[in-house]
């Protein structure tokens, strides 16, 4: 499998790209598809592992302009544009990539923003390899999806360029209609919905339970993968559009959802509260001191900045850490533990790496930073000392059996394979259930057996005028899928408001 990152400095790789780019541009009108296929895929310069283990700064440093243009020139501009089908918000990918290839970076960001308000975020955290880039003709022709055109990195490049220029284009807002919409949650689903509704001139109020807006992009995804200043900037854009954001407001508690409709005269409500209820394993010892949910561990370090000595929020002095799970959140927790000074970080996953839901890049990053992977392994019970503090875990080895309902091969425990590993901290990252706060206080709101809100094809719930999208509907998924649902809901809400 191809390497997609490099530890060489950004200027080194940029200079190399510049040379190739100049040669190509010299015969611009005669570049053939064959030439394009020969352009080396541009590697992402990243902080070397030994450096980044000790800091909280972003790992991926971003393309330079020559790298971006060169990478964009790899695009064959296929007529059928399979990449667009892979994008949940259907960005005009060939259009913006071509603009980059032409050196018109401003046009590129304009094209992206027609469909996505969060390009700097999505360029960083979307799983492009299973979406747009999975379908890329270049990757297919080279028989390696990692050699597809790096659409996400190009998106990031133009978004960063715009942000750093200080001249962010604020999407146009039509004349005020006097109609009001409430959006619950300031994560990806809520932001997109709010923006799309606001564009039509409706008044939008967004409610956030935490003291800072951004949802999972603030409390969940760490600084080293998604700098918080970027999220803040995206939220600012929303505010500049005239969207009102109210923090420290938990709908269902501070005010009932039905009150928003009946007493506060909102014409529609969108629920984008996310999948905020961490799953535990229901095994012996999981409430010992030293056992955390990934949500708690990450919230302490991201939102509450426990890694900073200035913070009042304490973090647990973990030296030997076990992470349980194989998703992106597990990788985030493992890499956070490394940065918070753990001497050893072990990641346990009960299937094999093929089934791991985490992105390849994140796995690669975690490994480089020294995280030790144990596949086909799971915890059986947590062992504590007399003070109720975690000191070890009893684990079991697994093998793969027949595929289960998810299509992945079912892990089967190997009898008698028990073994003990000494750890002082365990972080459970096996996913989230739906948060019940709104459901409990909203009679008539239908949910499925996992607590996910049931919606129709327009994202409308069982209550007329109440819509939902993102993880509260999908279960734990991705930023971009949440945005996709927010977009559909916004369209339906705009349609509805037109009629009243």
């Amino acid at each position: 499998m191809a390497d997609t990152t490099t530890h060489r400095t950004p200027s080194e790789v940029e200079n190399e790209a510049k040379k190739i780019l100049l040669e190509l541009l010299a015969r611009k009108d005669s570049i053939t598809n064959k030439d394009r296929m020969k352009i080396p895929p541009q590697l992402m310069p990243v902080q070397p592992p030994e450096t980044r283990r000790k800091n909280y700064d972003e790992v991926a440093l971003g393309y330079g302009p020559a790298q971006a243009q060169l990478e964009a020139l790899r695009c064959l501009n296929c007529k059928n544009a399979p990449c667009v089908d892979g994008c949940p918000v259907r960005i005009d990918i060939p259009g913006f990539v071509k603009a980059i290839a032409d050196g018109d970076f401003q046009l590129a960001i304009k094209i992206i923003k027609q469909n996505s308000l969060l390009p700097a975020v999505c360029g960083r955290v979307c799983p492009q390899e299973t979406q747009c880039q999975e379908k890329c003709t270049v990757g297919r022709a080279l028989k390696d999806p990692l050699k597809s055109v790096s659409i996400g990195r190009l998106e990031r490049f133009v978004a960063d360029l715009e942000r750093e220029s200080g001249k962010i284009q604020i999407p146009e807002v039509k004349t005020e209609t006097g109609k009001k919409v409430a959006v619950i949650g300031t994560g990806p689903a809520g932001i997109v919905t709010a923006a799309d509704i606001r564009r039509e001139g409706h008044s939008v109020t967004v409610f956030e339970a935490f003291h800072k807006p951004g949802g999972v992009m603030i409390y969940g995804i760490p600084e080293f993968r998604l700098p918080k200043k970027i999220v803040r900037k995206e939220i600012e854009t929303l505010e500049k559009m005239g969207v009102e954001i109210i923090t420290n407001f938990v709908v269902g508690k501070t005010r009932k959802l039905t009150d928003l409709l009946e007493k506060d005269s909102f014409n529609a409500v969108f629920i984008g509260t996310g999948a905020g209820l961490p799953k535990f394993m229901n095994i012996e010892g999981e409430n010992l001191v030293g056992v955390f949910s990934a949500n708690e561990y990450l919230t302490r370090s991201n939102l509450m900045k426990a890694y900073d000595p200035k913070s009042d929020t304490p973090f647990y002095p973990a030296k030997k850490v076990a992470i349980l799970g194989g998703g992106n959140v597990a990788m985030d927790a493992a890499r956070t533990a490394v940065r918070l000074g753990a001497e050893e970080v072990h990641l346990l996953y009960r299937r094999t790496e093929v089934e791991m839901p985490a992105r390849i890049e994140e796995r690669e990053n975690a490994r480089e930073e020294g995280v030790i992977f144990h596949i086909l392994t799971n915890v059986k019970r947590f062992i504590g000392n007399d003070d109720g503090i975690l000191i070890a875990m009893e684990c079991l080895k697994y093998e793969l059996g027949e595929p289960d309902a998810s299509g992945r091969r079912r892990p089967i425990e190997i009898k008698g394979s028990e073994f003990i590993i000494d750890v002082d901290t365990a972080i459970i990252a096996i996913g989230n259930d739906s948060n019940p706060l709104i459901e409990q206080t909203t009679p008539g709101l239908k949910v499925n057996k996992w607590g996910n809100i049931i919606v129709d094809e327009n994202q409308m719930t069982s209550i007329d005028g109440v819509y939902a999208g993102g993880d509260i509907v999908l279960g734990a998924a991705t930023v971009i899928l949440a945005m996709g649902q927010g977009r559909i809901a916004a369209k339906a809400i705009n349609e509805r408001l037109r009629k009243i």
Binding site: H211, G276, T299
Partner: protein, 287 residues
């Protein structure tokens, strides 16, 4: 928002603050709590029970004891200052109905969260017997309020400086032994007190509710830091509680979890106190 309208020192290290929060004041019910933090970037989030509310004035009453960095900083705020972030009301409200005789046991600062519950129990037509306790006379709070709402009030101090020299479990046991026995016991206070209240009522088979105050980050079910073992099951204090059946709570595990960050916090707190002393010394010197 969240302007401090009134501040009263109730005893050494215990303060009462009435804070402007009209929405919380109108929505809150007995048994619920809030989460607050004192700035957006580096402050921690801590849960505090709502001791009372005034819907006319749009205020809620918080009663807290200085035990760590955040309560220390909070105690330094004065009338007219603002609490940056205040979220609530959180948790499930107490189930109020006419049970018959309800014994309300409050210990230390736990007397504060007990207050609205005892009040509501009284309003629902229950006979309310209150037992309030503290280490000594100076630390006893809300005596007047409890005198007003209770059919019977028993005051205990550990050192006998006021009321009866006893732990709250002593009168509790006597009340439980009476015929007919009380219908419900509610105990709020230090975990060790709630544990022994539950042990006291267990042989009498009297339903006992306790209100848990665990470590929390978000207070909305998102982090699971507040989880406790209740009847062998993992429960979240913030969304499943804060009240649970005292006979089912694993108090030992809960107390250990409460101490998870103790050493780190104590060090921070002591460092800060030292700093404060140094600053005061310097100020004195500089006259």
């Amino acid at each position: 928002m969240n302007k401090i309208k009134r501040k009263i020192k109730l005893s050494e290290n215990v303060y009462r603050m009435d804070v402007e929060a009209p929405l919380i004041a109108s929505e809150r019910k007995a048994g619920q709590f809030i989460i607050l933090s004192l700035d957006d970037n580096y402050a921690e989030r801590i849960p505090l029970t709502i001791a009372d509310a005034n819907t006319k004035e749009g205020t809620i009453t918080l009663i807290f004891q200085v035990v760590g960095a955040t309560t220390k900083k909070l105690s330094r705020l004065e009338k007219g200052d603002f609490i940056d972030n205040l979220l609530g009301p959180l948790g499930k409200p107490t189930h109020i109905e006419k049970f018959g005789t309800v014994v309300c046991v409050g210990g230390g600062i736990g007397v504060a969260p007990m207050h609205p519950i005892a009040q509501e129990m009284k309003n629902a037509g229950n006979k309310v017997i209150s037992i309030i306790g503290a280490r000594n006379k100076e630390l006893l709070i809300l005596e007047e309020e409890f005198k007003r709402l209770s059919d019977e009030l028993i005051i205990c101090t550990d050192d006998g400086s006021y009321g009866r020299k006893a732990l709250v479990t002593e009168p509790l046991k006597e009340i439980c032994s009476k015929i007919p026995p009380p219908d419900l016991v509610i105990a709020i206070g230090p975990p060790i007190m709630m544990k022994f209240c539950s042990i006291t009522t267990k042989p009498f088979n009297i339903k006992t509710l306790v209100s848990l105050n665990t470590i929390m980050v978000d207070g909305t079910g998102m982090c699971g830091g507040c989880r406790v073992t209740v009847g062998g099951q993992t429960k979240f204090v913030c969304v499943d509680g804060p009240e649970f059946d005292g006979h089912l709570v694993d108090f030992d595990n809960m107390m250990k979890r409460l101490n998870a960050f103790k050493n780190i916090e104590r060090k921070k707190f002591e460092d800060e106190c030292k700093l404060e002393t140094e600053i005061k010394k310097m100020e004195k010197k500089n006259g």
